[in-house]
Symmetry: C2
Subunit: 515 residues, 2 copies
Amino acid sequence: MDGSIYSNYPPPLDPAWEKFLVSTIKDWAIQNGLAVRPHPSFVPEGVDSKGVLATNAPVTLFPSLFPKARFEDAVALQTVYNELYAAITCNEAWLGKVMENLIDVDDFISNLWKVHLAVQKEGYVQTLSLGLFRSDYMIHAPSTSASPSLKQVEFNTISSSFGGLSSLVASLHSELLTSPPGRPISYPPHPLFDSRLPPSNTAVETLSAGLAAAHKAYGVSKSTPPLPLCILFIVQENERNIFDQLALSKQLSNVSKIPVFRVNSSEILDRTFIPEYNAFRPLIYQTHNPSVQFEATTVYLRAFYAPSDYNSPRDWEARTHLERSAAIKCPTVLNQLSGCKKIQQVLAEPAGPDHLSSFLPHKDPELIAKLRETFAPQYDLATEGQGRELALNPETAANHVLKPQREGGGNNIYKKEIPEFLRSIPESEWKRWVLMELIQPPAGPKNIALRSDGEVLRGNVVGELGVYGTILWDNSTGEISHNEQGGWLLRTKGKDVNEGGVAAGFSSLDSILLY
Amino acid sequence: MDGSIYSNYPPPLDPAWEKFLVSTIKDWAIQNGLAVRPHPSFVPEGVDSKGVLATNAPVTLFPSLFPKARFEDAVALQTVYNELYAAITCNEAWLGKVMENLIDVDDFISNLWKVHLAVQKEGYVQTLSLGLFRSDYMIHAPSTSASPSLKQVEFNTISSSFGGLSSLVASLHSELLTSPPGRPISYPPHPLFDSRLPPSNTAVETLSAGLAAAHKAYGVSKSTPPLPLCILFIVQENERNIFDQLALSKQLSNVSKIPVFRVNSSEILDRTFIPEYNAFRPLIYQTHNPSVQFEATTVYLRAFYAPSDYNSPRDWEARTHLERSAAIKCPTVLNQLSGCKKIQQVLAEPAGPDHLSSFLPHKDPELIAKLRETFAPQYDLATEGQGRELALNPETAANHVLKPQREGGGNNIYKKEIPEFLRSIPESEWKRWVLMELIQPPAGPKNIALRSDGEVLRGNVVGELGVYGTILWDNSTGEISHNEQGGWLLRTKGKDVNEGGVAAGFSSLDSILLY
């Protein structure tokens, strides 16, 4: 990797210029809805009992540099990835076999599987399934000589977030690059700023179009008499990232003219019901107007992705209730499970059956090879073998990360802590974890971030690129009726996490300049 | 006035419905920039030292009802009012004579006048003058039998605010009236909601077009070598209403492609200068980029309108500095002074010279009569006469308000407090004040407001309609090159201000449904 491109990027900012830029960004963010509700560590409990305050989403001051060819690779692979995960979801037997080991040791996976089994026993009434996916990558640049490659961090099959805000960050950076009009001086001059803008970011349009496609595919009301149709967003109470979600519902409502209602996951059983006598099992939503009910064509889950979303048997009951309804789920339980790290690891196995070719029988082998190249080496820990050897040896462990079957970060065990951690838990639980070789991002990138509390942090950074895709398919036939790619996300994290004893890390929304 | 239209408006809301509506509005506001920075009484000092927090602007839950014919009257009169105030500003002799009495007793007026005299002595280099005006009205309905009329509260010639946010409130209410699409149920049903929407609100487009017209009329750079041109927004430090202003600069920048910079009034002398050697006196703005300067074509004042904006001789120096520059002022000192209550009172004098016809010699007398009808009776207190009689008699005072020469409220003396107040100050100062007959708004209107701190208040309300207009004219010839009307504002205030000993009043941004 040629480090020189990072060596003078971003251009230096003197304090007055930084003040101008920060002030412009914090105001732009609120004016344009690039916002989050503030964290309780920033606005203490009691100050804002009605929950009206908002602040800027954490953003970088500059767009980050990203190799053009690798961005194009990621974009080109997205519809293939969409198909792959749809095919995996269709193959309940294969999925079940992979899950088998996990069900023993992982309550969350086990409970999800039980939801599926219960609905399967009764019989699914909806065979259509909607995926709003995001494939996350990092640039792997183990040496300065080799050309940087694209490695997948994870594939998100549920609650793929930040499409709404990410589009706004691309707009923000684009505006800064071109303002004031005619004589842009918001940023200090830099050769890379001449005539370069972040690529178009259609995340909002693409994700909304996926939801709209499901809404349309649902067809007419299954209620007697027919009810008006809507999409339900299933959300967490006190969601701080609400404006990301509202970007999608605004597009659906204002552009596609589709009604959207938000339902807290804890209120599902109070606000929705499935009429006992109706074999189609339509999911009926009781609005705030006692005399008006809608029928949900599609339930879009922005909750229920993590164990912490299930606090009681009632929450599992609510998930089962959605699953057995006629609404198209985004995602179904099986589709959610296909996003487990274990699946990624099985797909990546260098020996044994060629799962990719089985799931994608009509795809060009070259394309499949390209997709396979995005896999980082990863290992099973269920039995004796290479995985356990690498994990237990401190020297080799130093180059790895241990991941559980969860969406989102915060649960991983890194490097030298791996052997000790594994020895601290029963060997029977090792199979819950997957060992993945660490992706080695380029060392050079730097950026400056404006946090949600207004603090400005700077330093070496690592970027994670997410590419969005949507797919609508029939679980019983495998037939695909909608498969699109569009929109991206760059999340940029501070590399120095323990500076001076305090966690100095930051995680910000970013955009990209391709080079 | 037929009170019945108000008797069942707005429709009743049960608590669950109100919760839905409030929650929708508070989120919509942040998503769409209908925002303000929070007041220190809401977010205590120290919590948000970087000033990143924002909250919804105070808004009514429902649009308020407004008589269609009176709205159309106000709209039709705006370009005439624009012309009237441009003509007054052109007539320095007349203006000076009216100000004479005030200059003795009012430091603020006196200092403004001095700025004018100083620049006049040196010679003005810019004859073009821009007005971004707002004429404020209330509905006058003294009895239920008479048809309601339109009475002017004040005519704003400086810092006419809320155009940006008011457009957003019209969008908010329009969206609530039509959502979800196809089956609108955001509001409880009401006959007035069938097919009615707030009238189009083009305040942002109109006000920005006025600024753009001045920018264009300025012509080429007067600097050697020529500099890029910009508009300067002169603003108050820590402006809470910044998103209202940013709506205009966004339009100028993104649509008209005109660079806009914000300058705190306290920084004018540091950030701008007039080259000594240049007889054209261009106003040069030093950007945050040390090597880039712009020349200001237009200075738009969102500060310097109140005595509290002038804290030292340096602030008066800054105002003089702007006034003597070649930049087109919005407004000039003379144009600001034309907005004094005293001018309104002189124009409204029923006896004596017909000022309106003099200032508008080519206007249809019927139109002038219509304009005159918007004047509430108002009186001079400088000498013995009807004004003093009405003010000192508690019985007649009860129907009046005493107003100083200030923009904005908060300085008025009402009703029975007038005689006592006048007797508490030297008689020589009475001429600072104008006595105005109280406008009697209809008694029926009610609304519910969401405050910026999230509190929901309800009750009887009074609405104040503002209509925006812009005019660009030449002070030396009186020639008008741009005269437009467009956009409106409804501010709705709670009528019950002393409920239970606590100020229960609210002042919210609102929109209108015409009936």
